[in-house]
């Protein structure tokens, strides 16, 4: 590259770099700094170094079944995010495959349908689920009308999971579709010619070659779900907290900004670990 080209590239990249600096790096750094300060009673921080927030996060509580209540909420958030990802994958993979098999016009139409929910605010769509799942809601009215017993589903973890899967599914389907759509079907014929059965074709050819879509979709589903706030509040009746709820509590009513920041820092570190592991395996794969 000539010097001029490098300079030109610099100009092109600078808005993006500035954006990342201003709206990602500086705020993230601020969170890290805040997590090591003292709490001010009325919200905000006192500018004196303190590790109180981290001590509080890791101090075992004898009344709590696992280490302490914060750890329970961390574990639950990751567990629910994992469940959501798996369910989305199971539902999304066949759907993406089906869409990819259609003619061009039908394909565009179906992808368009997958994206339509984004036209409405997520909060509104979550409230819509509340109306469906309520004790007197659409589902129970229907069941009752058919002479079946009502099922109390609203304000339970099941309702939360339904809401999470519903909200995340497009983020799984779209990358899967992008991967599957590019798949070269002559490879399937080649494999069958060489005597592979359906299962082998899928596991040895189809799945590995669409793996990038699986991974991209899983990352896009998993990360936002871990920090969910709206769904557990509205569909879970606020009974069981996820990470988003506890963060809102610490910055809101608890007015403990350092502690909220410490939770966010640990959360970021855990996610970063996850992504590093992903890159590590990716590299392994490429060297093989």
């Amino acid at each position: 590259m000539t010097k001029r080209q490098i300079g030109f590239l610099g100009i092109l990249l600078s808005p993006g770099a500035l954006w990342i600096l201003l709206f990602f790096l500086i705020p993230s750094l601020l969170i890290v700094v805040y997590s090591f300060l003292d709490r001010q009673t009325g919200g905000g921080v006192l500018w004196s170094f303190s590790t109180d927030a981290y001590v509080k996060l890791f101090t075992p509580n004898p009344n709590s079944p696992i280490i302490n209540d914060f750890v329970i909420i961390f574990l639950r958030s990751f567990w629910w995010a994992l469940l959501t990802t798996i369910i989305c994958l199971i539902l999304g993979y066949p759907l993406a495959f089906f869409i990819a098999q259609q003619s061009t016009a039908v394909k565009s139409m179906l992808i368009f349908l997958v994206m339509i929910p984004f036209w409405t605010n997520f909060l509104v769509r979550t409230y819509a689920w509340k109306f469906i799942l309520n004790n007197n809601g659409l589902l129970n009215t229907l069941l009752h009308g058919l002479g079946l017993p009502r099922i109390p589903i609203i304000n339970t973890p099941t309702a939360v999971l339904i809401g999470l899967v519903y909200g995340s599914l497009p983020f799984m389907v779209l990358p899967l579709y992008a991967s599957i759509e590019k798949f070269d079907y002559t490879l399937v014929e080649a494999a069958q010619d060489l005597g592979a059965n359906y299962f082998k074709v899928f596991s040895k050819i189809f799945l590995p070659l669409t793996m990038p879509g699986v991974v991209a979709g899983s990352v896009l589903v998993f990360i936002p779900v871990v920090g969910q706030y709206v769904v557990p509040t509205i569909l879970g009746g606020g009974k069981v907290a996820m990470l988003g709820n506890i963060l809102a509590q610490q910055f809101g009513s608890a007015m403990n900004w350092p502690f909220g920041s410490a939770i966010a820092v640990i959360f970021m570190i855990l996610l970063m670990f996850g992504i590093l592991i992903y890159f590590y395996f990716e590299r392994e794969e490429e060297t093989v």
Binding site: D69, I72, G238, F251, S253
Partner: protein, 406 residues
């Protein structure tokens, strides 16, 4: 292989970016959930309410109108052309702002917040540009202690004389140097009469005794508020509403965990709607929200349980860095005018601290609150507790986390 992966990721990122952008655009227009009582106060008033109000207002206000009109704007030469207030959602009748603009020539702009903490974060950051805010009791104390409030020049607010002495000189501002009462209310139990044929649920046992609460399993809600819900558990256990003793907090947590299986959930955003639509039959509730529910469903009633309830007061205050302090004081005086005070409370369904406004409150308001059981008399007043905050009360947050974790 690598290329394909890159393409897949890239196309997804592009789609996701568009999706997020769309979601964000929608999000900006949707206000964050506010406490229900405040959020829903704008529910259209039935026509009869308007009719009942009109004659009463005219009769009482007419003779004094001429004199009142001239003072209501203070010294007009000192007024700014605009005034920015920062308030709870639907907590200020737009009519009051429109009339202030018409009479005094000051354009009032209102921004909305949904919690004291949200408001305090903006005020504490400085240069928020607001001339008047409406902090609740404990928030006044926090802001005043931090030097974020301006001292009010009472000479500019002659209508202070209209205020009920009971609402003045509170613990959070003993001399009312920084704040003047705006509206107040209570926290108690709202219930659907038809679900309690054997008599009203007049005790906290109806929400905390597992046997009693499970009779209405899935149809009982608690406020999603660490101070109110843990405070209620404290009262049920016979402790102080603001008790920070770790053992008592642990007991309160157990009480809350035992009730939890039979709860519909924790809801302070729209319990008035769930009560009105009979999705819950018993709710730990704010008085204004209960009144709104009753406005839609006349089976809804409200009471302060025998173990006690809580009381709170929202107040008008001026940030230390307010750009238009004098105009804010004139506006406060305007709100404290007897007529405007009545307009305000007819709109919010709370209680007015303005004694001079009381006779001007319309009949619909009186009937709704009296028949609904929201009115506070001396006997009830004795059972009401103020939420206090100090360095120790952070334990309420940890207890609340423990309740939500399991």
């Amino acid at each position: 292989m690598k290329n394909q992966k890159f393409n897949a990721l890239f196309s997804v990122m592009a789609l996701a970016a568009i999706a997020l952008l769309l979601a964000a655009c929608g999000g900006a227009a949707t206000p964050a959930p506010a406490p229900a009582e405040k959020e829903e106060a704008a529910a259209p008033a039935p026509a009869e309410k308007e009719e009942a109000a009109a004659p009463a207002e005219k009769e009482e206000a007419a003779p004094a109108e001429e004199a009142a009109m001239s003072d209501r704007c203070g010294d007009k030469s000192k007024l700014s052309s605009e005034l920015n207030i920062f308030n709870w959602a639907d907590y200020m009748d737009p009519d009051i702002m429109a009339r202030f603009e018409e009479e005094c020539g000051v354009k009032v702009t209102e921004d909305i917040y949904s919690s004291n903490e949200e408001m305090m974060a903006k005020i504490q950051a400085g240069n928020a540009g607001y001339d008047m805010i409406v902090p609740s009791d404990y928030a006044v104390q926090i802001l005043a202690d931090g030097g974020f409030l301006a001292e009010i020049d009472k000479a500019n607010i002659p209508n202070i004389s209209n205020l009920n002495p009971d609402n003045m000189g509170m613990y959070f501002d003993p001399e009312n140097k920084y704040s003047l009462p705006f509206q107040w209310g209570t926290t108690g139990l709202a219930y659907n009469e038809t679900a309690f044929p054997d008599g009203p649920p007049d005790s906290l046992a109806y929400i905390f005794d597992p046997e009693k609460v499970c009779e209405h399993s899935g149809f009982v809600s608690m406020l999603d508020d660490e101070r109110e819900s843990i405070g209620a558990a404290m009262l049920y256990l016979g402790y102080d509403f603001n008790d920070t003793d770790p053992d008592h907090q642990a007991e309160a947590r157990d009480v809350l965990l035992k009730q939890k299986d039979c709860l519909a959930g924790y809801n302070s955003d729209n319990f008035n709607q769930t009560l009105a639509s009979e999705e819950v039959v018993l709710a730990h509730a704010w008085s204004g929200g209960a009144a709104l529910a009753r406005d839609e469903n006349e089976n809804i009633k409200y009471l302060i349980p025998k173990e006690g309830g809580s009381i709170w007061q929202d107040n008008m205050a001026i940030p230390a860095d307010a750009p238009h302090k004098y105009t804010a004081e004139v506006f406060m005086n305007y709100v404290l005018d007897p007529e405007m005070g009545a307009v305000l409370t007819n709109y919010t369904y709370y209680f007015t601290p303005n004694t001079a406004s009381e006779p001007l409150l319309d009949e619909y308001y009186h009937n709704l609150l009296k028949e609904g059981g929201m009115m506070v008399d001396d006997e009830i007043y004795k059972r009401l507790h103020w939420i206090k905050r100090d360095d120790k009360t952070i334990i309420f947050s940890d207890t609340w986390t423990a309740v939500k974790a399991q």
